[in-house]
Subunit: 255 residues, 2 copies
């Protein structure tokens, strides 16, 4: 049997430390191919590029002997380009990250890292996004790499065809780590307070800055488990229907 | 009691015909303020602008006596800027659209129109996205406007605080219209087949082109109901947890 094909992508761009660490963590499981954005694409959500064409360029020197490409597109574009133009097949597994920063709770919706994984799952590829709760470009990925190996190893031992996971690793010392925990997404939001400045011509411009607010401290949420020292695993779906609200809406519409 | 404040946004940009039609459809229900992108932002998903500052410019002449602004940001940025810098309060209702093109089934994930509405709901604003299944800039919005009035009118008669709806209107003659139907999101995907071309220097570039594939023809899906002449109403949630998968994942991870 041939070795499994693993597609690696991210949203911090092909030169980020997180994606090199992810490649090192998964390379023992199969043949690794990297297709990632040529620049940071944080916060791109599930954006796709419709109005402009895309570029693909092979990259050497970053990932040892592994084949790698950078594209001018979003993380979701990278997945689509990889399947259609680079791999010419679906990979056996897609891993995205390791993101520099948390994608727990509501961040799953804004995250380019997770949107790449969601796109993989929509296309029928088992997909996992990994994020370390440390925004530093110089973050220590050693615990995160252990978590990647544990989760990916578990999947290879017991493969599930429909797989979409959001894995977050806390920023803690190894000794404080309490293991994996399956959780649900915490109810939370970013409350924005734009910073208004003036350009050299006196015209205003606005920088987004946000305060993160968690409205739900339940034990079974990813936010709570991360604070307790767990790495969190949230199974994710892309059916956004609020099935439990259908009856109330039909009533409101007098149907 | 003061008139309700209605925030109107979209992803096709402030000059699109769809947003003018949406304003005309809702202006009898309250005070309308428009905050929309200064250019088309289709397919932007839930993207936010992190690495660049944003501009806001007042727009006159497009919406009669209603106050209107365009921003350099994404649809989600527009909602955030509107609340923090323009309205200085949460609006009573957010409506997004009317999109030029379907946002039924999996399109809800890629859609800037729906992402603006999702952002509104995350921030606690009752929010509805409207889309007409006609990509033409010269589309006939008369049936769509009737649907907007019916749905928005029903909400004002029986307000629900937690509201997030994805409303799609079929491209049909008035006589073929069968009314509103509450549905679930159809399981579907875009299958990409990039169009490769050469630039004047002989270097390749790639245009995304997709084929839309519906894997689920059940009667209760939005895709099926639109084909039968209904306008579809899908209640949407932003908890992406696949709650039903938690046990299987815990088993895979041997937890």
């Amino acid at each position: 049997m041939s070795r499994p094909l693993i597609l690696v992508t991210n949203d911090d761009g092909v030169t980020a430390s997180g994606i090199r660490n992810l490649v090192e963590a998964v390379e023992s499981f199969g043949d690794v191919v990297i297709v990632a954005p040529d620049k940071a694409q944080s916060g791109m959500g599930h954006a796709v590029t419709i109005g402009f064409p895309l570029r693909i360029q092979e990259v050497t020197g970053l990932f040892g002997s592994h084949k790698a490409w950078q594209t001018s597109g979003t993380p979701v574009d990278c997945v689509k380009l990889a399947v259609d133009k680079i791999l010419h097949r679906k990979p056996d597994l897609l891993v995205s990250g390791i993101n520099h920063g948390s994608n727990a709770s509501i961040n799953v919706i804004y995250s380019g890292t997770m949107s790449a994984a969601v796109e993989g799952a929509i296309e029928g590829i088992p997909s996992i996004g990994f994020s370390l709760c440390d925004y530093s470009p110089y973050a220590d990925f050693s615990l995160a790499k252990e978590v990647v190996k544990e989760v990916v190893g578990a999947w290879f031992k017991k493969p599930q065809h429909e797989l979409l996971l959001n894995v977050n690793i806390p920023k803690i010392e190894r000794a404080e780590y309490r293991g994996l925990k399956v959780c649900r997404q915490a109810h939370s939001k970013w409350s924005e307070n734009f910073d208004e400045r003036k350009d050299p011509n006196g015209r205003p411009y606005f920088w987004m800055k946000g305060e993160f607010i968690v409205m739900d401290q339940s034990e079974d949420t990813d936010d709570a488990a991360l604070k307790q020292g767990f790495a969190t695993v949230v199974p994710v779906q892309f059916d956004m229907t609020a099935h439990h609200k259908k009856a109330a809406i039909a009533d409101m519409l007098q149907l």
